[in-house]
Amino acid sequence: MTHAIILPVVLPAVLAPLLVLLRHRLPLQRALGLAGSVALAALSLALLAQSATPHLYRLGDWPAPFGIVLVLDRLSALMLVLTATLALIVHAYAVATGWDRRGPHFHALYLFQLMGLNGAFLTGDLFNLFVFFEVLLIASYGLMVHGAGRDRLRAGIQYVAFNLIASTLFLFALGLVYAVTGTLNMADIAVKVAALPPGDHALIRVAAVMLIGVFAIKAALVPLQFWLPGTYANAPGPVAALFAIMTKVGAYAILRTVTLILPAASPAIGPLLTDMLLPAATLTLLVGAIGTLGARTLPRLAALAAIASVGTLFIAIATNSPQATTAALYYLIHSTLATAAIFLIADQVTTRRNGTLTEGPRLPAPLAALYFATAIALAGLPPLSGFLGKLLILDALRGHPWLWALILCSSFLMILGLARAGSTLFWKSTEPVEAKPQTLALTAIATLLALLAALTVLAGPVTDWLALAAADLHDPAAYIAANGLPLP
């Protein structure tokens, strides 16, 4: 156990440079890259089994808050497992479709991306979170323009510029937090903020709003969502599918911020952050749902559906009660897998047509079946987990009739948007001959849907476990104690 916590960061950090050296030997690259993904999945499952109490890993054995620490608790273990599962399936898809052949360093960049993601989920230090954000971003810049092309490069510049501005804002927020509290360890900030003199309240509130702003950019909350549709729609299919976890990094960071670092319970913050998040979340849901009606290409439709799912997720996060957080975590797992599935399907469609929602060559029947199932999951219709996720969120929102109306109406809009796209794509074809399906690629998409089905069937045990994770989040005493710090 002692050193296992840092392995999800160290393993890709060692493997990825090796893969750079093997740039001309694709079979070896593929074998090592996939082996890395499998190892990460096994490792994250092993960590999940031990996450019942928070575990601390001190880098260089310096005690918190002076050294940098990694903390494994239920939430971070859950995010690790989700990342590794998604990464493994998408990696297999990229190999099966030959996407990894279109540029020399796909596998190396992919592992660097996983290293950044794992680090961001594990770290217990705010500046370290910034560093891991940069690691995952710089890898994502490479992946985003993988295979190049005019539109992809230009969308890539927008994506990079947007994120560089976000990084600068993050540094400003970090500077403020450090100036006010004198620490950057997340648990220590929680302790210091709770005991802050009233004169410093205004400064920490400014820092809190800036932090939430940065994470909202990552999570693509309206009005900071402008980078997402262009980026996701122009990124290579498998990369867009992996990016399904990127908005969840923002969700994870905001969840940590509003429960641990700057909780509503501390007098300096109060309900400031959740009050800001709720209107943003409702707008995000509306923009995403209405956008699905107006999208002209399937990748753009998928990107807007991703925005809508972020909106639903943040309505639950902004409610900030243990029950709502449980629902949010369940919906987070569901929306990550469902979004990835729709991006992979969009990639299958765009390799045969140009992706616009008009008639074209006939698409294989299994693909149509997969689209149908994914659309059901995305829109939140029974029997798949999207329905259960939305039901859990609605259950946690008793007493908010207008939020109920919003979630239900937006689901209806998404059903319309997805049905319109599906009927145009799969029922109107110019050529009678059916294209040959790529069996391996379709198997990868089917695996994602099988996971969604499993999430539905095992909803009982899963929500019980998630309720424990949510209880941990809303009572961070154990997390703070694991850092070896006195309780506030």
Binding site: V131, A148, R150, R154, I157, G175, A179, R296
Partner: protein, 111 residues
Amino acid sequence: MELLIAAAIGLLTACGLYLILRQRTFPLIVGLSLLSYAVNLFLFASGRLAPDLPPIISKTATAYTDPLPQALVLTAIVISFGMTAVIVLMSLGAWLTAGHDRTDMDGGDDK
């Protein structure tokens, strides 16, 4: 000195933002660099402004300045340097393939 530092940070941020909003890749990159200079100064000031004090332990020192912001600034400089290199290369690639250097997407919804 506080006024000087604060004015410098404000001026750099304002110029950086103005250049970013120009929607051309060269001003964008210069603007991002100015913003990163501003944030480096800001981080440096977050450990309080203390002239002529050493950040590391020495026998002759009577007081110390906070060494952590200096380490943070160093990290921030390295990262922003790398990121600038990435965006310069991508901009060159986009300029060579697209033939112009505008950063907005033409035809928005086309692709």
